[in-house]
Symmetry: C2
Subunit: 304 residues, 2 copies
């Protein structure tokens, strides 16, 4: 079951209370593809990097059977760079700098043999580009989209036009409030569902995630982590695990969407245990299933 | 199975984005006793009011079989008053004023026939008074205690002395971080357990609650409420539902503690649907069980 991932590839410079890392390979497409690669293949990436993007980071994705045919490499250009600093409790971060570099001229071109990808996962990029991707895709089973406050603030109308073509939107709690102008998350989900997506997933960081469909509210806990080293990429890893599970099972029923949320949360929990994408390296499917079982135990109770 | 509740009785003046209410009967003991009264009897209250505390509020408790023998009424005095304003998203509030009045001289005296109460629930009051209550009690099955930032800030050492005698501590997430000086809630729970309580429950408002024991982390979702009118008393209603269920079942096993957390969350969800204690009036046990079933559905997923 094929997944097409479109998003950023970046060099991240990150400071957390536990240490810092400089120009670490990241970006939404990298985290999504790495997480999804544990569930299905082919996972295909469309994105853009400069000549300075480390070859070993691409080799890592290729070892995980990620198809990089759609990756544009501008040898003379510089890769998108992001730098941020996390606060004491890791729940908030300040962006210190953003250099778009080659990303500024990114115009996603989907290789012809990728146009019939069954699952499409649009990482956090300009909603105009997200739409340009969809224009090139033939009848996907579902389009999963991530967005963030940056686009909600700066390209609100464009984002709303894109949302009409999205099946499942993933965003965090503050973004859901911002987009819906509604503080209550259950109401916010309903407002956002009215904008297009039939399914809305609200990520709440250390508090887990909510799955909202027409008739269902599902509340997934967060994995109780004592040692979170770097939250960067957690949301993208969530999206990757989520779409990976859906592609593996080819099942959009609500009960399976719930499972997909738990698999997404599981991949996010592995991601934050190490710096950058290190947490998504060298996992086994057994490890993933074992943690899903722990998730199950975490929120299970018997009524009587 | 008897429960002894010691805490404040107050006249609350509350502003929320949805309306306001003036001098509404409240206080930790009122909410805890009202919530617990749906599970067991006798529920006994020890507290203090002035002559201005409405007789009908006391009549409401008596109708719910709450034993008020331990309630001191100072006819010539004024009842404790609190006034607060909730912000837009109802997650934060500002205290506008606090008038201790008769509460300033509160010295809890436990009526002799209440000294053998099996369950003791200490509402949010001065930790010195909480200890004075425990000095008068003979071998309770368990002591459940609620506290808040006010005492963590102002009577830290006294609170820590009290905590050594507490079995189950209930507090909210910001209070857990403040008391433990640890931003990670799982670690915070461990630090607080090291202070005495073998069980710590961290309430997270709209994000549910965590139950932390030596070997267990249980994550309870919050009930998905679209219409929260007044969060006042939610934490106390949680404590009341929690201790009520424990008293009803007389079972401190971890699996039953989980259920107690869900019953606590359920009573809190009823509380916030109306202003003041209105949400705890005229419930039926069937309604409560029905909502517990909805809680079960909310977080349930099948692994395969």
């Amino acid at each position: 079951m094929s997944i097409l991932v479109v998003g950023s590839l970046a060099l991240d410079t990150i400071e957390t209370p536990f240490g810092s890392i400089k120009e670490s390979p990241g970006g939404s497409a990298v985290f999504i593809a790495a997480a999804a690669s544990y569930f299905t293949s082919p996972v295909r990436v469309v994105g853009i990097v400069g000549g300075d993007f480390p070859k070993q980071a691409l080799a890592f994705l290729e070892e995980r059977n990620v198809d990089l045919e759609g990756l544009e490499v501008i040898e003379s250009g510089k890769t998108f760079r992001w730098s941020g600093r996390y606060k004491y409790d890791l729940n908030e971060r300040d962006t210190l700098s953003t250099e778009l570099n080659v990303f500024e001229k990114f115009d996603p071109k989907i290789p012809p043999r990728h146009c019939r990808s069954r699952w499409v996962c649009l990482g956090n990029i300009d909603p105009v580009l997200q739409r340009r991707v969809l224009d090139q895709i033939e009848k996907p089973r579902a389009v999963i989209c991530d967005t963030m406050n940056y686009w909600i603030d700066r390209k609100n109308e464009e984002l709303k036009t894109t949302l009409k073509r999205i099946d499942i939107l993933i965003l965090n709690d503050s973004e859901a409030r911002l987009l819906s102008r509604e503080p209550n998350l259950i109401k916010a989900g309903r407002v956002i569902r009215g904008m297009g997506p039939s399914v809305v997933i609200i990520k709440k960081g250390e508090h887990g995630a909510l799955l909202l469909t027409e008739n269902t509210v599902f509340s997934a806990p967060a994995f109780p982590m004592e040692n979170i080293f770097d939250p960067t990429g957690a949301g993208d890893s969530f999206a990757g695990g989520f779409v990976g599970w859906l592609a593996r099972t080819d099942d959009l029923a609500v009960e399976n969407l719930k499972r997909a949320v738990v698999y997404g949360s599981t991949l996010a929990s592995f991601c934050v245990e190490k710096f950058g994408v290190e947490g998504l390296k060298d996992l086994t499917y057994l490890q993933i299933q074992d943690r899903v079982r722990q998730f199950h135990e975490l929120s299970r109770f018997d009524e009587d």
